[in-house]
Symmetry: C2
Subunit: 417 residues, 2 copies
């Protein structure tokens, strides 16, 4: 007997049949004796429709109204799932964000969860054996009493936050894939599903382009040490043994992973652009003169590479931005030329970032060196390199992305047997 949060995304609740399927998944866990809270997204396509309407009325719309509008999709699925559960004999009721309440900041359209009081839900688990069906993605800013949303993919974050609030044993994220893979299986058919991955590794995988989970949900899982299990909502409920180990990937603390690989996975991102600022003065404040204007223009800078100056006078600085921000970034740097002081800008848009992630890197030397050698053997030119404790990334020409990913996947022994 445990306590479980189950989260189902848009494709898992896309129509009434799929919602009935979700109800069967929930019933299985209830029948196994678990106390269950379910977090649901809007039916797939609904949120996009609502967002499109907001934009059609005005591209510069009030984020408070945007939130009131787009949060409505989840209310529908929460209610429908509650009815579907009742129909198969499971006590259930729906909860809107403000009813629990899920208290958030007032950063409308990308609010942060501040506090969830789980007592009301726990009381009803105990007294009524009632499943809580919770509208994901939303909350309330209590001082103003207005509805907030957590940003796209926010239902993952709702689920993990609720799991922490009700002191659940685990948070199951049901999705349209059956777990987290060592890399994108569409690029590397030999990619394998990981059984376990550490929070830190998953954070790097998620932010480096693996699109399974919202990054903030993993951060939250790490903070509260809440194990997150990524599994498929397409598995037939009747085929699953609730006491067995279903297929999926458990995201948990490093200590719970007995045997860790040096490299856990390979992530990549093709929508990158590179800007190199040549011959800037090597003096304090020059980096700020570049990145402050970019931040003010709301441009997200990803990789930053600056080498040690050769002559002690000038150096080059390279950074990457999302391809969609490329033109604006270049304009911003050009406009600030006098202030920054540089010789010229070199830039490229056909670049991709490939990242190798593994907490084993902490204790193994030479992991990156192996990669540089292997890529060089394939004649793949490395434009720039950055590293962190459990990851390194290389910037290469987009055309070589798949080749590089496959090469590294084999190199680190990640290919399926």
């Amino acid at each position: 007997m445990g306590r479980l949060v189950m989260k189902f995304g848009g494709t898992s609740v896309a129509n009434i049949d799929r919602i009935r399927n979700v109800a069967q998944h929930v019933k299985r866990e209830v029948d196994a004796g678990h106390e269950v809270a379910v977090v649901v997204s809007a039916m797939s396509g609904k949120t996009n429709e609502l967002v499109a309407w907001c934009t059609e009325v005005s591209p510069m719309h009030d984020a408070r109204e945007y939130d009131a509008i787009v949060a409505s999709g989840e209310l529908v699925t929460a209610g429908l799932l509650a009815i579907a559960l009742q129909t198969i004999g499971i006590q259930a009721r729906s909860w809107q964000g403000w009813q629990i309440p899920i208290k958030t900041s007032d950063a409308h359209a990308s609010a942060r969860i501040d506090e969830i009081d789980g007592d009301k839900l726990i009381k009803r688990f105990k007294e009524r054996k009632e499943v809580a069906v919770i509208a994901g993605f939303q909350g309330i800013h209590e001082p103003t009493g207005r509805v907030t949303t957590l940003g796209r993919g926010g239902s993952d974050t709702s689920a993990v936050a609720i799991a922490a609030a009700v002191k659940a044993d685990r948070c199951d994220i049901y999705t349209d894939v059956d777990g987290v893979y060592t890399t994108d299986p569409r690029v590397v058919p030999k990619a394998q599903r990981m059984n376990k991955v550490a929070f830190e590794e998953m954070l790097e995988l998620a932010s480096q382009g693996a699109k399974v989970l919202q990054v903030r949900s993993v951060e939250l899982g790490m903070t509260h040490n809440m194990p997150i299990f990524v599994r498929s909502s397409f598995d037939k409920p009747e085929d699953i043994d609730p006491h067995g180990t279903p297929p999926g990937t458990l995201i948990c603390s490093e200590e719970e992973i007995m045997e860790s690989h040096v490299v856990t996975g390979i992530a990549f991102s093709k929508d990158e652009a590179q800007i190199s600022v040549r011959q800037i003065e090597d003096k304090p404040g020059v980096a700020a003169s570049i990145f402050v204007p970019l931040a003010e223009a709301n441009i997200n800078v990803d990789m930053i590479v600056q080498n040690v100056s050769e002559d002690g006078k000038t150096t080059d600085l390279t950074f990457t931005v999302p391809a969609t921000d490329y033109a604006r970034a270049k304009e911003t740097i050009t406009a600030a030329k006098a202030k920054i002081g540089y010789a010229r800008i070199d830039s490229a848009t056909d670049v991709a970032k490939v990242s190798v992630i593994g907490s084993g890197m902490r204790s193994h030397a030479g992991v990156a060196a192996q990669a540089f050698a292997a890529l060089s053997e394939r004649q793949i030119n490395i434009r720039a390199i950055t590293t962190s404790e459990i990851k390194f990334s290389v910037l290469i020409d987009t055309a070589y992305t798949e080749l590089a990913v496959r090469t590294l996947h084999t190199l680190y022994g990640l290919d399926k047997a």
Copy 2:
């Protein structure tokens, strides 16, 4: 300078262009110096879609979940209209039922409004010159904290209740017709729009089959003496003089109508079925033995006719029900035969009810008699008659409905010049 509630139904907010048109209507009134609250329905078709999903999951669904689901449609239009208003320079914010709050009973799916505190809205009218855009059709049952809805067409009731709560000067109901007509213009092309109609008359017109307004909104208008102005949302906002008298029908107290006609309008309803219970004993309790089982079966009985017994021993009793309830009603009466004690049941489904309404009937004798003579001249057989203070109804064969309505419309001088 006055205070105005403006209500727009589903066809008036069916898409973004229509919502922009609504914003122009609101701007006109704001520019004229009025304080404005707007009540909106869901985009046309949306509520039906949500109801269909509930029914698809389970025909016998939890009304609390049904309410949580179907109330979501209005949230979308309220938010979109608030954005549309802001875009044209009008201060505006959306309000969900629970935010005001609109406190209702817990009769989910057909809740009654208990109380609305208008102070918050009035304060913002004064301090911010802000238009309140309110999601119609919904409220909250405060003891349980759950969302309620007021039943189909409930946004009319929301609008009038809010008008009373904020002490508005008038409640304007924008709809897809330009007012209330003496009868259905599709049946009688000579039907005319009424400039003014008394609350009592409108109540009879509405409950007798004129579908312009929800009956409860008229009751509420009568209780609070809140003038309701029915007008078209298809009139071009720029063509309307906010200080003039736009086309439409004002529903108000009888005292404000200087020159009243004896007959105000003709209503009719074709979806009727008639059941006559023959030779029941003429003794106390026999009517109850018929109507209690029908009430328990949730069948809405409309006309009831019982004549004075001729022999003091037995009599006949006729009643009508909606055609959709005909089979169930007949079964119910058949099942209760032993208890009721009757000789036989006669019934008919092809019957229509035609009603003549006018507060002038109070002071004019012979109004009904004229009708009976005119119908007889046309060879239209009257199956049953009921009367009230300001109305009488006849039950006839459906085939003669249009002929009867046109005949009575001419008879009482309602035809357009």
